[in-house]
């Protein structure tokens, strides 16, 4: 079984970096087909990289997304593979190739180019502070353990 856990976000933007922080932290514990990867780079690049790899049975994306929830809220859900209209996808591809990193861009672009397996999970964290700097807000800091546990749970198939 192959599981890829992808951390998404920008470093040094406090809570926005939570996804890549988690995958950095867990990477040394990769084992038995479980891989951790910093995806704070390029949705199109990631899509192209997936073409080169053996198929994953499950991909788990983790990152901060502002959905106006209570700060620190952790939401895990199975991705439904429903894509937005083509115009929006096209705009997201343009965003992606010009450097915009976001969980939504990554998933939509990867799905649009049919790079994702059927079994995809998303763990979103509502950020409280995305200003310049290291470390996390107290709300997100308090949830690091919960996020980690959720990830380990999702790596068990």
């Amino acid at each position: 079984m192959r599981v890829l856990v992808c951390g998404v976000g920008y470093r040094f933007l406090r809570d926005n970096a939570v996804g890549v922080h988690i995958t950095d932290t867990l990477a040394p514990q990769a084992h038995n087909g479980i891989e951790f990867e910093d995806l704070g780079y390029h949705p199109v690049g990631f899509t192209q990289n997936l073409d080169e790899r053996p198929d994953y049975d499950r991909i788990v994306f983790v990152g901060a997304v502002d959905r106006s929830r209570e700060p620190g809220t952790v939401t895990a859900y199975k991705y439904d593979h429903v894509l937005p209209p083509a115009d929006e996808i096209n705009e997201r591809v343009a965003d992606s190739v010009t450097g915009s990193i976001s969980l939504d861009n990554l998933i939509i672009v990867a799905e649009a180019f049919k790079a994702l397996p059927e079994d995809v999970w998303v763990i979103e964290i509502q950020p409280a502070d995305e200003t310049w700097g290291e470390g996390f807000s107290p709300e997100v800091d308090a949830k690091l353990e919960e996020i980690t546990e959720t990830i380990w749970t999702l790596t068990k198939l």
Binding site: I89, A94, T98, G99, I101, S102, A112, W132
Partner: protein, 641 residues
């Protein structure tokens, strides 16, 4: 000599001096902008009396543009012209403030984050500025390695624009929607370049420009991948390299690395031929349909190009010698005014630059010229006069406020050279190089500058080895920008190929020239430096001033700052504004509500806008806006728009 508007003259030896006997020689009288149409009831009444199809059309954001650009227009749909334009950079780039007080070497890594497309060029421009300030010269192999990084970065950048950002404006879907009669004609029009690109009919070519599914769109994505793969072999990662340092690069390069890069670069020989043929066909087809398409996005061919790709045996990192090493670049420096190359001197290029803020959300820092006597750098290190508004004298003082088309409406400053608006791009480097006629230009077996064209002699790959020649067009406009950018894939591939051969030779010879970096000692006294370089989209400079080992001032001037510029204090529009004002509305619409603005968008996108954004805006210790580091984020801030 080269300046018509600045108070600079030249002595018999050609040395630049200020015109004597003029108090505050750089001061000027501001020309007020006319009252915007929507704020002028009398003008509105007059226009509506003539026809009722004058509309305000705002493109906010302009999509398929890297970053946060909004564009305001007032259009006359009856007479099919544009009456008023305003280009708005809707985000503040706070790097100048973030970098103050830091180790200058931090700027290499921090300024790279100004852009998610072309971070590598910021890193390199920053390293060049550090080198000049520190007094360190890289070994030839270090310079060649940087040239290779730049080349493959451009081979990433140009396909993005042509296939993913501008290309969709000429796709089947866009043309059918906005000009169905042109689509019908395309279905019956044979292409000229079928032998090269494989499309017999224009309609087939347009169909394959379709986003997400078109073969040309997908092929463009594929070529961005090849370039990134080549880049990371030296840069470590992309778009923010880890190996660009003052004095060269910190990576190790062996023959297998060069082979891997070569394997990728040669693939652009055919891709470049094909892309040039495609954009030749697109341009000529539209011109045949309606010659007015030449006027989409037209403006005088006035361009500024610092040049790039240093000669490994000429570059010495000094400002004093920059005219000599600049003229040995594969893309020479050049300022082109209305189609004429007026200088290839990097010192004159630099001395002619000013940034104005009358219509930008910044505070003026000189008292509008009245405090001229207080400005810090009255001359550059070679003794040439500098303006109080020169980047070495610039202070970044953000002042968010309500948008007013008459007063302030953009976060972009208004850069000017000799007080004229300049554009810049991939095309400015091939344009300037073509105009040199081989003079002031590094010899290359693969490039031949004729004075009116650039011939590119590349080895044959799979496609027939036809002669490739980009010719300076008579009329400068949107289609010519795209066409020239397409030829720049080949221009860049030729330079990459040339540098790869140099790299093999340096590795074969070994010795000190084959080292990748020069050790240096960090100075602690007062120094200044400038990185004069290029981005995929054109002009890029980083000016720094340091003392006691930290940055006192850091100023980044990017291509899109030149081109997205608001109006200047002389009442003249920035390049986007000027180009859209000249654009005829050739779109087919019966009712005003059907108007899509495709010709306006083609004009804007032809510049390949890239609006570098900010991570933060710091003002008096208060964060007033925040946004993610990239070129493609939305506007967030507490300023009013």
């Amino acid at each position: 000599m080269c300046f018509k508007n600045l108070p600079i003259e030249f002595d018999a030896q050609g040395n630049a001096t200020l015109k004597p006997g003029v108090a505050n020689p750089y001061s000027y009288t501001e020309t007020p902008l006319p009252t915007p149409i929507e704020d002028d009831p009398e003008k509105m009444r007059e226009l509506f009396a003539r026809n009722s199809e004058v509309r305000r059309v705002d493109f906010d954001p302009v999509t398929r543009v890297a970053g946060a650009l909004a564009f305001h227009t007032v259009v006359d749909l009856e007479n099919r012209n544009v009456l008023e334009t305003a280009s708005m950079a809707t985000l503040f780039r706070g790097y100048e403030i973030i970098l103050q007080g830091r180790d200058p070497r931090d700027a290499i890594f921090i300024s790279s984050r100004a852009c998610g497309v072309c971070g590598g060029v910021h890193a390199t421009a920053s390293a060049l500025a550090c080198e000049m300030a520190f007094g360190v010269k890289p070994p030839p192999m270090g310079i060649v390695a940087r040239n290779l990084l730049l080349s493959v970065e451009y081979l990433y950048d140009h396909p993005i624009h042509l296939s993913l950002l501008a290309g969709p404006d000429f796709s089947e879907a866009a043309v059918r929607e906005t000009n169905p009669e042109i689509w019908e004609r395309a279905r019956n029009t044979k292409t000229r370049g079928a032998a090269t690109h494989g499309y017999a009919l224009m309609s087939d070519l347009m169909t394959d420009l379709t986003p997400l599914t078109g073969k040309l769109y997908l092929e463009g994505l594929y070529y961005t991948r090849l370039a990134r793969e080549a880049y990371v072999l030296i840069g470590g990662k992309y778009p923010h390299p880890e190996t660009v340092i003052p004095g060269g690069v910190s990576s190790h390069i062996d023959v297998s690395d060069l082979n891997e890069i070569m394997l990728r670069v040669v693939k652009y020989f055919d891709y470049g031929r094909k892309t040039a043929a495609i954009w030749d066909d697109i341009s000529e087809f539209f011109y045949e349909v309606n010659p007015k398409y030449r006027d989409i996005g037209t403006r005088p061919a006035s361009m500024i190009e610092p040049g790039q790709w240093d000669d490994p045996y000429a570059y010495d990192a000094t400002y004093e010698n920059c005219d000599e090493w600049g003229r040995r670049r594969w893309a020479p420096p050049g300022v082109i005014v209305d189609g004429e190359l007026v200088t290839t001197s990097l010192q004159m290029l630099n001395a002619g630059v000013e940034e104005f803020v009358e219509h930008a959300f910044y505070e003026e820092w000189t008292g509008n010229g009245t405090n001229n006597e207080y400005y810090k750098h009255k001359t550059d290190p070679a003794g040439n006069p500098l303006s109080p508004w020169h980047p070495w004298n610039k202070e970044t003082i953000p002042k968010p406020q309500a948008t007013s088309w008459k007063e302030k409406y953009s976060w972009s400053t208004a850069p000017r050279w000799d007080r004229m608006a300049m554009e810049t791009g991939a095309y400015s480097r091939i344009y300037a190089a073509a105009q040199t006629g081989g003079k002031d230009f590094r010899d290359s077996p693969y490039l031949e500058s004729t004075g009116h064209s650039m011939k590119i002699h590349l080895p044959k790959a799979e496609l027939p080895n036809t002669e490739i020649e980009w010719k300076i067009p008579e009329t400068w406009g949107a289609f010519e920008r795209n066409r020239a950018r397409a030829y720049c894939i080949l221009y860049t591939a030729a330079i990459a190929y040339d540098n790869l051969q140099l790299a093999y030779e340096l590795l074969r010879k070994g010795g000190p020239d084959a080292k990748l970096s020069t050790p240096y000692k960090m100075p602690t006294d007062h120094r200044i430096g400038v990185g004069l370089w290029g981005a995929g989209r054109g002009y890029l400079t980083h000016h720094l001033e340091m003392d006691k080992g930290v940055l006192q001032n850091y100023q980044i001037l990017t291509p899109s700052t030149w081109m997205a510029s608001p109006k200047d204090p002389f009442g003249k529009p920035g390049p986007y504004e000027e180009a859209v004002l000249a654009t005829p509305l050739l779109e087919n619409y019966e009712k005003p509500e059907d108007f899509k603005g495709i010709d306006v968008l083609r004009a804007i996108r032809s510049f390949d806008p890239c609006m570098p954004c900010t991570t933060h805006m710091h003002m008096d210790g208060r964060t007033v806006s925040r946004e993610i580091v990239s070129c493609a984020c939305g506007a967030v801030g507490d300023h009013e728009h």
